[in-house]
Symmetry: C2
Subunit: 222 residues, 2 copies
DNA sequence: AAGTGGTCTAGACCACCTT
DNA sequence: AGGTGGTCTAGACCACTTT
């Protein structure tokens, strides 16, 4: 008895796995568990909230806590600065600005940032001299007024200046056309991993497509 | 004054964004903030813990709480059952088992599950009759002893029977060879999005590669 | 050695939602 | 209408780690 919240969480997890609490079932309420396990309701609450955040329980006021019939697990995906990502792989990060001009936005960019001229920044990230990823970015001009992306990548500038914004990510794949093949130093027709991200705080900030060189993988944990 | 934990969190976020608490700086300790904001230390703790879990603060006992110089944001990626995923897109899910036999594992499968014969299950998921994704899975035989995957996909069986396991995800891209092109109903050479996942609880359970039809996207939030 | 976050207790009030 | 989770208070002890 007298369990800490992590012990309570582990015990609850054991009961779920053991089908003591089968899928769809309602589990005892917090007060009952607190009494049974010899701790306060706050401790039980902390433990069950943790499991609910991971998608392993569903909680509702008045409705109680249930084991979901079809749990939707949630994985965490860390979003590092590209140059750090490269450095952690033990390679020398490099960066070259290819395009920086105002343009009418692409369809995706307009959907994320609204209409009107947008700042279009295209840059190549290299690892140990080899192409690593192409950064195709559209920015709300007001946010980056006067910023020069020749030396510092937009990726890096944004992370350190527009911290804590909301982001939406989307993975996809595309075939390398001639221009991409040349930029990334790969054969035309190669399969490329895409990672699109739109970012906004109070107001839309940026939409970016990262196009990785062939063979690249993006990992997520849990 | 008298703020709830979410208000405390929002106020802290505001100070971070406004550079009242610049990157690298140590912020006031919990007791000080509690006094300033008119709540208890527990409430401040809850708020700052929430920000730390999102990667926006770094906390250490005795070392205090700091604003990270280079924050690593974490996104959440939900992992649904494939047939539900299809149903939510408003299409009719279908499933066809292609292969189910014991084999020596592929390199990736052996790395995740260990050596020895593994159960290899290959199946096609369809959406409204059209190929949606190919599921190429390797399983520890003991875990799925006697289970028939002809009617229920391994994806679905595992979610409801091996709940709450650890998983590691990895995204990539590959080119459709002739066999894949036929299975997925796409031209050879098409770029395909891959999602690899290895799952283990106390013991390794499964390694799976999902190969999506061209154009498919996988979304993540925050 | 001492300061900071981590956690627990006991009690309370409230918000929400299901019955 | 009532039960359940959500949250807050006030106080306390502990764990860690930096000074």
């Amino acid at each position: 008895m007298a369990m800490g919240w992590q012990e309570v969480r582990d015990e609850a997890l054991r009961r779920i796995r053991a089908r003591d609490w089968p899928p769809g079932a309602r589990i005892p309420d917090e007060a009952a568990l607190a009494g049974e396990l010899g701790c306060t309701r706050v401790t039980v609450n902390r433990a069950l909230r943790d499991l609910a955040e991971a998608g392993l329980l569903e909680r509702r006021r008045r409705g109680g806590t249930r084991v979901p019939l079809t749990p939707v697990r949630r994985a965490t995906l860390s979003i590092p600065i590209i140059r750090q990502d490269i450095a952690e792989r033990g390679q020398e990060p490099g960066y070259r600005l290819l395009i920086d001009r105002l343009e009418p936005g692409s369809a995706e960019a307009r959907a994320a940032l609204g209409d009107g001229p947008l700042r279009h920044v295209v840059a190549l990230h290299t690892a140990g001299g080899a192409p690593y990823c192409l950064e195709d970015r559209w920015l709300s001009p007001a946010v980056v007024e006067g910023v020069d992306f020749a030396e510092v990548s937009a990726n890096e500038w944004l992370v350190s200046h527009v911290t804590y914004a909301e982001a939406r990510l989307s993975f996809g794949a595309m075939t390398a056309d001639a221009a991409l093949a040349e930029a990334l130093g790969c054969p035309p027709g190669a399969a490329l991993l895409l990672l699109d991200r739109s970012t906004r705080a109070e107001t839309p900030i940026t939409w970016v497509r990262l196009i990785y060189a062939p063979g690249h993988r993006v990992d997520a944990g849990l």
